[in-house]
């Protein structure tokens, strides 16, 4: 008993240690996932070497949502690693592109020099009266509402713009609901997909929003790693050694295996038995009936 207790006592610190490690690992893991929401870890993360992202993590990096009515300028404009870029829109009628809102994001540089954006925030400018009129006109014409973003967020002057459009009638619900998906590659914007939040039914009905404010949903997307059953060969070996046995179907019962033979056989046997039973009966009946048949013949003789 005592010996067992001692061993338990010895196990306890080990367990504690182990749980500590486990919790540490868990903390690290959560750190990886929480990176984007956690402001305080920005600095430390930049210095640490990035671990390869597990392929299972979703591509969504940041989803920030802000009503344009109550926005103040996003915090952190003074920080050096914050970048800002403007979203411009074209309300048709030959007005050309005008600033419509601004994105602010934190620039994160990894150890080997590549830079990525995190913590994207979007602020929509309020629509002026002219713009509202122009938007109404777009709705009437069932025309396109086009937005654009600079293709390089660090140096907006150098590169081209990325455009995206949608039929204006897709946007209004109660307010103007928009859904912006930005596809990034480092600090370059590859593409922006501008759309409505829900579906956009066809044919498109004309609908004027009750509130002229934008409800914006933004998503930052980066590329997925292509799946390739990576440890494929290992898996095969695994299957051959251990797993294969488990996968074997359980032995079927005798009845389950051979019912298709047993039933016909039984039927045949039954048939044979009844037939066999019938034959003596028939013979007996024949013998029994013969005197009876003879009887009527005999009867007239009695007459």
């Amino acid at each position: 008993m005592a010996a067992r207790r001692r061993s338990l006592l010895m196990l306890l610190p080990l367990l504690l240690l182990l749980s500590h490690f486990l919790s540490l690992a868990a903390a690290f893991e959560s750190d990886e996932l929480l990176l984007h929401d956690d402001d305080e870890f920005e600095g430390t993360r930049a210095s640490s070497t990035p671990s390869p992202r597990p392929p299972s993590t979703p591509p969504v990096v940041t989803s920030s949502r802000r009503r344009s009515a109550d926005t103040t300028q996003a915090a952190g404009a003074s920080e050096s690693n914050t970048v800002q870029f403007t979203l411009e829109h074209d309300l048709g009628a030959g007005l050309g592109f005008a600033p419509a809102g601004s994105f602010s994001a934190r620039l994160k540089s990894s150890a080997h020099g590549s830079q990525t954006l995190t913590k994207l925030r979007f602020t929509r400018n309020e629509l002026s009266e002219d713009e509202k009129d122009a938007f109404k006109k777009l709705l009437e014409e069932d025309s396109f509402y086009t937005i654009r973003l600079p293709s390089n967020v660090l140096d907006p002057t150098r590169h081209d713009y990325i455009y995206s459009s949608i039929k204006a009638r897709c946007i209004p619900r109660d307010s103007l609901d928009e859904h912006i998906v930005i596809h990034m590659d480092g600090v370059n914007i590859l593409a922006v997909n501008y759309g409505s939040v829900g579906g956009c039914q066809y044919p498109r009905p004309m609908k004027v929003p009750s509130k002229w404010t934008f409800n914006s949903y933004t998503i930052l997307k980066t590329a997925d790693q292509a799946p390739r059953t990576p440890s494929f060969v290992e898996q095969l070996i695994e299957t051959e050694s251990g797993l294969g046995e488990v996968m074997k179907p359980p032995e079927k019962s005798f009845w389950a295996k051979y019912w298709m033979y047993i039933i016909p056989l039984g039927l045949i046997v039954m048939n044979a038995v009844t037939a066999a039973a019938n034959i003596p009966e028939e013979q007996a009946g024949g013998q029994g009936r013969a005197p009876a048949q003879r009887a009527p013949i005999a009867a007239p003789s009695r007459r």
Binding site: F144, C170, D185, A191, S196, D224, T239
Partner: protein
């Protein structure tokens, strides 16, 4: 007497087994080759021809073509003895014969010299030569002289000259000329001694002449002279120390004479002696006895040198005309040929240089009108039966065909334009007519009688050779697969191909014979020298309903020049006869052609042609077409892939053009979306969409656990693959860390990126194919050092709720809701990649009439064969241990490699040299698809990806079936009689 019933049953059983076995056979048996398929060999447009001058043996000519083929042809029949198709990245510049038994070729800018054995085409040796720069190289074979034992081959490239032994390819000597910037232009061997004259230009105006000892390479003499004006580089060196060179402006000639170390020259204006010369002047490579040929834009002139003072025009031919090289016939004399057009014929004239006024041969040759004008002539002589000199010539025509002319007739012709197919489409054959007119019957009766008499003669062995050929032709024409009418299964079609030369050729799918051909006049080179280029071929009108009686027509679009901003050209041809119905020259360029699904009232297919200014033009230009287009205009979108700027842009159409409001058929475009790939990280490698005419049978896919997945079927799905710039080069040029391949699925209407995926350590070249809801692409995996094929399947999640039967019955589903690209799609993407052994030249997918038959990928392998790979092997849902249900569904256990089953080569043992494209055309029979593969060769076959489940095979013995039925009926009668008899007997008892 009939067989007893039990034996009959056995026969029937055996027969059934045989039939079921026959349908099981998937691959082609050796004796079935050629039944449904055909293979044609071509060589391409000949750019150089060298005759085998050996007195004995078979007459041959060795040719070098623009398709980078060297081939040995039989001069009597035009058949190929042997042929080598060299890769395009190793272009062959020149060809020559050496020592009467080797063919020597110089390739890759003078850096590789190869010798091939003349009789069988085996490579004898190969020598790599160090050359200074990628300048124009020259090959010169020293003629058999007494002093030099080895037959030396001189290679001149830039400042270098090499002499190489043609026996073993060893470099005998090499010499670099010290003069800066020297480029060797000409080399001539002195006939008397072992002196080789080498002429080069340094800079633009300095002329240098060297005399070398052919044996050792020592410079015996050299002389240099600066000319007052620059030279354009074209020059001719006569053996008699005279050089004729064109100046920079191409309007004057320098006549240069070098005596010893002094050079004297004289400049002669061409306009002084040639009347009305204009345009580009070229010196033709003809020089002997002081005769040169000069080609201007309208004429070809023969000039004779009169010492240093000037030239004299002896003859002048209107172009198109062509002059051959000089051919030595006697010690002193050389002959050359001129071919010119006289009306519809061509005239073949042979002259000797010593007496230009005299003509040895002047023959008129009838020629097919659809061959265009003469481009090149290669003269050859032979000894006639009366010991006099006879001449024949190979003529290269504008449509790239090759003809042999001898004794005033075309001996044979090769349609080598088919080696450079640009685009392919299939067209239906005419329907078999029911009602036949009386005249037709009479004519047919006579023909029929004649045919039968011929056949009778043939069976009685009385037929002559010609008659035998006629019988054979009759048989071919009447055989089922070669008929000129539509068949029930849709196997007989016309393959209409557009070649690089601007010729449209219709091939019959039965045996590949040419039904008609037409060299389009609007795609022919004009005299001003612009070279039109053929672009695409489309279906223009398919008669249906109201216009059933009209013939279908096709649309050919081209450019009137080589540059992409050159005005476009449009031609409409009748697809039964090849006649040109209409041709038009656009006033705008052609950047993109978009065939629409709309048709006007005369069933003409509407086409949008986008020019380089992003304006769209509607064709046909009829109010009717405009009306039907205007209603659909708001739903028309298109996209463009700009490889230079690394961007993809989407557009919609707007009412009218900006510049020309009067043109109602012109629409301006509006940029809707753009995707710009960062040029420092990605470069567009390939973009691919679904085929316009693809038919999808079912929207849904039922998976193992009775669940339904809806395919994301959008016609506007684009697959784009980009590679990192470092990995854009050849395989091995980038390390795995710096190489990556990105795969994108993009919706072309909204510009939405539906899926984006990175393959690390992968690089191009990428080949891809998009069909239904999947993409298959092929690339190289640098980490695994292997090729890979990856598959992406995309499913629509927004329709995933439509599984409830009750909902379906009550109509509460969104299956019939119109699809709009403006809704945010909820898609699910599955992907997987597999190793693949081969590198790939082209990829396609089989297409069937209704899309029910399972698909096969057609992969053009590096060995120029076509492999049919079941799509089931490229299923992203394959797992290592599929469950029982999944197995039932047909999921194959996951493997690392895609299997290559030798029987699944569509081309069986044949090779389609320099394979470029694979086209799959649906037949009317659902199980079967027609596959046409083109490169330098053509190959056609029928393919049944899921076997011919809807028809009996060709080998099915209808006779046996008939016999069986007859026998059965007979047996029935016999047994009935028997039973009657037996009954009668019983009754009598």
């Amino acid at each position: 007497m009939a067989l007893p019933p039990r034996q009959l049953l056995l026969v029937l059983l055996g027969f059934l087994v045989a039939v079921s076995l026959a349908t099981l056979a998937a691959a082609v048996y050796a004796d079935q080759v050629g039944l449904a398929d055909w293979h044609q060999k071509y060589i391409g447009k000949v750019k150089q021809a060298v005759y085998h001058t050996q007195k004995s043996g078979r007459r041959r000519v060795v040719v070098l073509t623009e398709e980078n083929v060297i081939a040995s042809l039989d001069l009597r029949s035009g058949d190929i003895f042997w042929r080598h198709v060299i890769e395009k990245n190793n272009p062959i510049d020149q060809l020559s014969l050496s020592a009467g038994k080797y063919v020597v070729t110089l390739s890759s800018g003078g850096s590789i010299l190869r010798a091939w054995n003349l009789p069988d085409g085996q490579m004898v040796w190969e020598t790599n030569i160090q050359t200074s720069s990628a300048s124009k190289s020259l090959l010169h074979v020293l003629s058999n002289s007494k002093v030099v034992q080895d037959n030396l081959v001189l290679v001149l490239a830039g400042q270098w000259i090499y002499a190489i032994s043609s026996i073993d390819g060893l470099i005998s000597w090499g010499k670099e000329f010290t003069l800066d910037g020297l480029e060797i232009k000409q080399v001539v061997q002195s006939p008397e001694n072992d002196i080789v004259y080498v002429v080069g230009i340094a800079g633009s105006s300095k002329l240098a002449v060297y005399q070398l000892n052919a044996k050792t390479g020592e410079i015996v003499k050299d002389a240099q002279e600066s000319l007052p004006d620059g030279l354009c580089g074209e020059m001719l060196l006569g053996s008699s120390n005279v050089l004729v060179a064109l100046d920079e402006t191409r309007s004057a000639l320098f006549i240069v004479e070098f005596k010893g170390e002094s050079i004297s020259y004289n400049k002669v204006q061409i306009s002084e002696f040639v009347q009305d010369f204009s345009g580009m002047v070229k010196l033709l490579p003809l020089m002997s006895n002081g005769i040169i040929a000069l080609q201007s834009s309208s004429t070809v002139s023969l000039l004779k040198l009169k010492g240093m003072n000037g030239l004299e025009v002896i003859h002048s031919f209107d172009r198109p005309a062509s002059v051959s090289d000089a051919l030595t016939i006697t010690e002193k004399d050389e002959a050359f040929a001129i071919v010119q057009h006289v009306g519809s014929q061509i005239e073949f004239i042979v002259k000797v240089t010593s007496d230009l006024t005299n003509e040895i041969i002047r023959e008129k040759v009838d020629i097919d009108q659809h061959r265009g004008s003469v481009e090149k002539v290669f003269l050859n002589n032979y000894v006639r039966t009366d010991k006099s000199h006879g001449f024949r010539a190979l003529v290269v025509m504008e449509d790239h065909s090759l003809l042999l002319i001898q004794q005033g007739a075309v001996v044979w012709s090769r349609e080598d334009g088919l080696a450079s197919i640009v685009d392919v489409m299939a067209s239906e054959l005419p329907v078999e007519k029911d009602g036949v007119s009386v005249a037709d019957v009479e004519h047919n009766l006579f023909e029929w009688l004649k045919g039968h008499v011929l056949k009778l003669k043939g069976t009685l062995m009385l037929a002559s050779v010609d008659e035998l050929a006629a019988i054979q032709a009759l048989r071919v024409r009447s055989s089922e697969k070669n008929k000129m009418t539509r068949d029930h299964n849709g196997f007989r079609k016309l393959l209409i191909v557009l070649t690089k030369a601007g010729k449209v050729i219709a091939l019959h799918t039965g045996d590949g014979r040419i039904i008609w051909s037409n060299l389009l006049p609007s795609l022919r080179a004009s005299k001003s020298g612009e070279m039109p280029s053929a672009l695409r071929i489309y279906q223009w009108q398919v008669p249906h309903h109201r216009v059933m009686r009209e013939n279908p027509s096709i649309l050919v679009v081209g450019r009137s020049g080589a540059s992409s901003v050159a005005p476009g050209v449009l031609c409409i041809l009748d697809s039964y006869s090849g006649e040109e119905l209409n041709s038009q020259r656009f006033d705008h360029s052609v950047a993109q052609i978009i065939p629409l699904i709309l048709k006007d009232s005369s069933e003409q297919r509407l086409h949008l042609i986008v020019d380089s200014n992003s304006n769209a033009h509607l064709y046909p230009r009829s109010p009717d077409a405009l009306n039907s287009f205007m209603t659909e205009m708001s739903n028309q979108y298109f996209y463009s892939v700009d490889i230079q700027k690394n961007a993809i842009r989407g557009y919609s159409l707007q009412k009218s053009c900006d510049f020309d409001s009067g043109d109602t058929y012109c629409f301006s475009t509006r940029l809707l979306w753009s995707i710009i790939f960062p040029s420092d990280a990605e470069r567009i490698s390939v973009s691919e969409t679904r085929k316009m005419n693809e038919v999808v049978h079912t929207q849904a896919k039922i998976i193992a656990d009775q669940d339904v997945m809806y395919k994301y079927l959008s016609k506007s799905l684009i697959f784009v693959a980009t590679v990192s710039p470092k990995a854009a080069g050849e395989i091995g040029s980038a390390a795995p860390e710096e190489a990556s391949l990105m795969a994108y699925l993009i919706d072309a209407v909204s510009g939405r990126i539906l899926h984006r995926m990175t393959h690390h350590g992968a690089q191009g070249p990428v080949h891809s194919v998009v069909s239904e809801n999947w993409v298959v692409y092929h690339y190289f995996n640098l980490r695994a050092h292997r090729f890979e094929i990856a598959v992406i399947e995309i499913y629509d999640q927004s329709r995933a709720d439509n599984k409830d039967v009750l909902k379906l019955i009550l109509g509460k589903h969104n299956l019939s809701a119109p699809m709009t690209s403006y809704s945010r799609p909820e898609v699910m993407v599955k992907s997987q990649s597999y190793f693949f052994t081969h590198s790939v030249k082209a990829m396609a997918v089989t297409q069937t009439a209704k899309g029910i038959t399972s698909k096969q990928l057609l992969i053009g392998t590096i060995g120029d064969q076509v492999l049919a790979l079941d799509k089931r092997f490229l299923d992203p849902r394959r797992s290592v241990n599929p469950t029982q249900q999944e197995k039932e569904e047909g999921i194959i256990p996951l493997t690392d490699y895609l299997p290559i089953i030798p029987q699944s080569y569509v081309t069986h043992s044949l090779q389609v040299e320099a394979l470029r494209g694979i086209v799959s055309i649906p037949a009317k029979l659902e199980s079967t698809t027609l596959v046409f593969t083109y490169g330098v060769d053509l190959f056609y076959t029928r393919l049944a990806p899921s076997r011919t489940y809807d028809s009996l095979t060709d080998e099915f013995s209808y006779a046996l079936l008939l016999i069986t039925i007859v026998a059965l009926v007979a047996a029935l009668f016999v047994t009935w009689i028997w039973s009657e008899k037996k009954e009668l007997r019983d009754k009598w008892r």
